[in-house]
């Protein structure tokens, strides 16, 4: 993993207080390293300037790949590779290819998106990410700052004045 970082972070007890604090931090041009929460907070993404996830575009591409694989695959098999007559139907019996084409579209889209999701997030089986605070997955809402990117004094006063219940420094 990347080299260790010195961070300073504050913990809040309520997501609405956290949202207010994030608003203030963004207004004060404090460089927030990341915000960690026990569940998704609506309204946080625009404050942090996170652009909308493009996962759906990836999903569409994977899905299209599945459509093409299924349809072209079956067409090739039944017209070129091994043509057989089933019940007097034409070799290239498009309507009866539809169900499998649909299933593979969904399958490719789902697997592709899930794999992409874990890859771009840097998550996966066996990955160990540094834990900032054990209570973040329980009931604490955290704003973390990288000490090398911010004025530590300014951050401390921001944390004190904006309802942070705890302030900690840590090397991760």
């Amino acid at each position: 993993m990347s080299q260790s970082k010195d961070i300073i972070y504050g913990l809040w007890n309520d997501e609405e207080d956290l949202l207010r604090a994030v608003k203030v931090a963004v207004g004060d041009h404090l460089e927030i390293m990341d915000v960690y929460t026990p569940f998704p907070i609506h309204g946080l993404d625009p404050l942090l300037g996170l652009s909308e996830s493009r996962l759906h575009i990836a999903g569409f591409i994977y899905g299209s790949l599945g459509t093409l694989t299924a349809f072209l695959g079956m067409s090739w098999i039944f017209t070129k590779d091994w043509p057989i007559i089933f019940g007097g139907k034409p070799h290239w019996a498009v309507p009866s290819f539809i169900p499998i084409t649909f299933e593979l579209t969904v399958l490719f889209a789902a697997i592709g998106m899930v794999v992409t999701f874990y890859l771009i997030n840097g998550l996966g089986p066996g990955v160990v990410n540094p834990t900032i605070d054990l209570r973040i997955t329980d009931d604490k809402f955290c704003i973390a700052f990288d000490k090398s990117e911010v004025d530590v004094g300014q951050v401390e006063s921001f944390l004190k004045n904006n309802g942070a219940s705890e302030i900690h420094s840590k090397t991760i």
Binding site: D34, P38, H42, D45, D81, P99, G124, V128, D138
Partner: protein, 590 residues
């Protein structure tokens, strides 16, 4: 988070839970040693599973001849059980996907267990086509792959092969969807665990941190998976119905209208969810998370889908008569009056009559009644598949080959074994993973927790301390306001509605918010907003709607800053509130 919830909507999380309580309640079942009930259930399930495995081994060793199938009845208990399990597997994805798209908050209480149930049911279902082909060791011929036999491919025009694709896809997508939802919750378990247990959950949680960007992508992924899983779940049972509909057996054309089959699948799936959840909530003490409101919602789905199934049964009788096609007419006459009449009337009673009990609210909300009916429906839906498959085949076109099919001990044993497998997996699941989705319940707490909505809303109702606290807030207001508050409190206390009496305990003086006078305060009370906390979490658009509904005189008021002000008041930050109000002009930002 703070979206407005109708005041008449029941809370979905009871017991005034904090976020930490939710973690504690939902993770602790995986942390303590299993109880006597769990061990008994597990031993029983494992025994059934072992017997099932023995019967499968018996089938493979001696061949399909050990079953009582005969020349015309080529499909018996095997495919009946297959369709039954697949049907049960439909509720999980329905709850997690379709209800997610419809933004039904009650899904959060039951989606995790229902998805697990889906996966286990599909595993049980997949066993039957795997062994009924006879030579189970070459069952991989189902799948198309470049082989050394030509290569020769499976028949892509056959609904049976569509089924292979549909069920493999359904299983894979359900598994991915379920596991992605589990990752954040495994992280919660991980962060409470120590030693070896921590290592295991570290692996299972994939290194989840709870970063804002990860949550954003997680939500996006869940939504798209839900979007594609919805047509998928409908396609699966549609294709199962094609298995029958495209044949030349008259009684099997009953499945030509797939929505009927899909409704039946959802119907049986919800019944199984109810059976499981009623036991689970009791054993794991989850009554606060899987509430009567959840059970009632599911009973409503059962009532609707059960009635759809009932209409379909009657329609097929009519169509058989109206078609003028003698084979179809005979098939249906034979069902009701032939040798399997008991299965037909069992099906009619269990699926059509029994769910009608849920028109009555009291029974819809009764755990005993729900549990009983859910079992009856599980049996009824099994009969439905048996009626379609076996009764039709036992009366072929040629009367000389008519027969009466009943299963051999091996067939019964395999069915018992799948039930054992299902419960073994489910019981293991309750030990390893949180049965209720922790993060998702937390995310609906502010809008569906009973301290925020419903009759018990606001602080802790009923006790004297809170009444005093409620009065303290009215202490410093001028005389005029005080009288109006007292009037209101009296009014509330004398009102016969239980809701309002309890709410009076912690009423705040909303007039302290700039822009709110006595009239608007009353309007807000009418919208079930009594405290600063409720106002702070109310949605601006809902507030505007309240004002619009109150009449034209109030439309010029702007509630934009109210929640900001109320949040300060709720936290007791009076100085900051004063500062803010100095900047505001009539409640407006200037």
């Amino acid at each position: 988070m703070s979206s407005h919830v109708s005041p008449i909507r029941e809370p979905l999380v009871n017991g005034h839970k904090s976020y930490h309580d939710i973690t504690e309640d939902l993770v602790s079942p995986t942390e303590r040693a299993p109880g006597a009930a769990w061990i008994t259930g597990f031993v029983l399930s494992i025994t059934m599973l072992a017997f099932g495995l023995f019967c499968i081994a018996w089938t493979i060793w001696y061949g399909i001849g050990t079953w009582n199938l005969n020349r015309t009845v080529g499909w018996g208990w095997d495919i009946t059980n297959f369709v039954w399990w697949i049907g049960i597997g439909h509720a999980g994805t329905l709850i997690s996907a379709i209800l997610l798209l419809f933004r039904q908050k009650w899904r959060t209480g039951v989606n995790r267990a229902a998805e697990a149930m889906t996966i286990f049911a599909v595993i049980c279902a997949a066993i039957f086509p795997g062994i009924h082909v006879g030579r189970a060791w070459v069952v991989f011929y189902f799948f198309p792959y470049p082989n050394t036999r030509g290569p020769i491919w499976p028949n892509f025009n056959s609904p049976l092969l569509w089924d292979v694709f549909a069920i493999s896809t359904y299983f894979t997508v359900s598994l991915l969807f379920w596991y992605t939802g589990l990752v954040p919750d495994f992280a919660t378990v991980r962060d409470r665990a120590k030693g070896f247990r921590r290592k295991i959950y570290n692996f299972l949680s994939f290194g989840w941190t709870g970063s804002a960007k990860h949550w954003q992508r997680w939500e996006s992924l869940s939504l798209i998976l839900a979007g594609i899983a919805t047509p998928l779940v409908l396609s699966v049972h549609t294709i199962v119905s094609f298995d029958f509909a495209t044949s030349i057996i008259p009684g099997w054309h009953t499945t030509i209208f797939p929505p009927y089959f899909v409704a039946g699948a959802i119907f049986s799936g919800f019944a199984m969810v109810l059976t499981l959840m009623i036991v689970t909530r009791k054993l794991l003490n989850l009554q606060d998370y899987i509430t009567i409101a959840h059970i009632e919602s599911m009973n409503k789905v059962i009532l609707v889908t059960g009635t759809i199934v009932g209409v379909a049964y009657l329609t097929e009788l009519f169509i058989a008569w109206y078609s003028g096609y003698v084979y179809e007419q005979f098939a249906f006459f034979n069902r009701a009056a032939g040798p399997y009449w008991w299965a037909y009337f069992g099906m009619m009673f269990c699926n059509v009559v029994s769910p009608q009990i849920f028109w009555v609210r009291k029974w819809r909300r009764s755990i005993a009644v729900t549990f009983f009916v859910s079992i009856v429906i599980n049996i009824g839906m099994w009969f439905e598949r048996f009626v379609i498959i076996a009764t039709t085949l036992a009366r072929d076109y040629v009367p000389s080959s008519w027969s009466y099919y009943s299963p051999s001990w091996v067939e019964i044993g395999i069915f018992v074994g799948t039930i054992g497998l299902f419960f073994t997996l489910y019981l293991l699941f309750t030990r390893v993973a949180p049965v209720v989705a922790i993060a998702e319940v937390k995310s609906i707490l502010k809008s569906a927790g009973d301290q925020y909505t419903g009759p018990n809303a606001i602080h802790h109702h009923g006790d004297d301390n809170d009444l005093q606290a409620g009065q303290v807030t009215t202490h410093n207001v001028d005389e005029e306001n005080e009288t109006s508050i007292n009037e209101m409190t009296d009014d509330v206390l004398t009102a016969d509605s239980d809701v309002r009496v309890k709410s009076s305990a912690g009423v705040d003086d909303l007039k302290k918010i700039e822009g709110i006078g006595p009239k608007i305060s009353d309007i807000l009370n009418g919208g079930d907003i009594y405290t600063f906390a409720q106002l702070a979490s109310a949605d601006v658009n809902d507030l505007k709607q309240l004002l619009v509904n109150a009449g034209p005189a109030f439309q010029s008021h702007t509630p934009e800053s109210w929640s900001e002000q109320a949040a300060l008041a709720r936290d007791g930050k009076w100085d900051e509130l004063k500062e803010l109000q100095d900047k505001l002009d009539g409640g407006k930002h200037v």
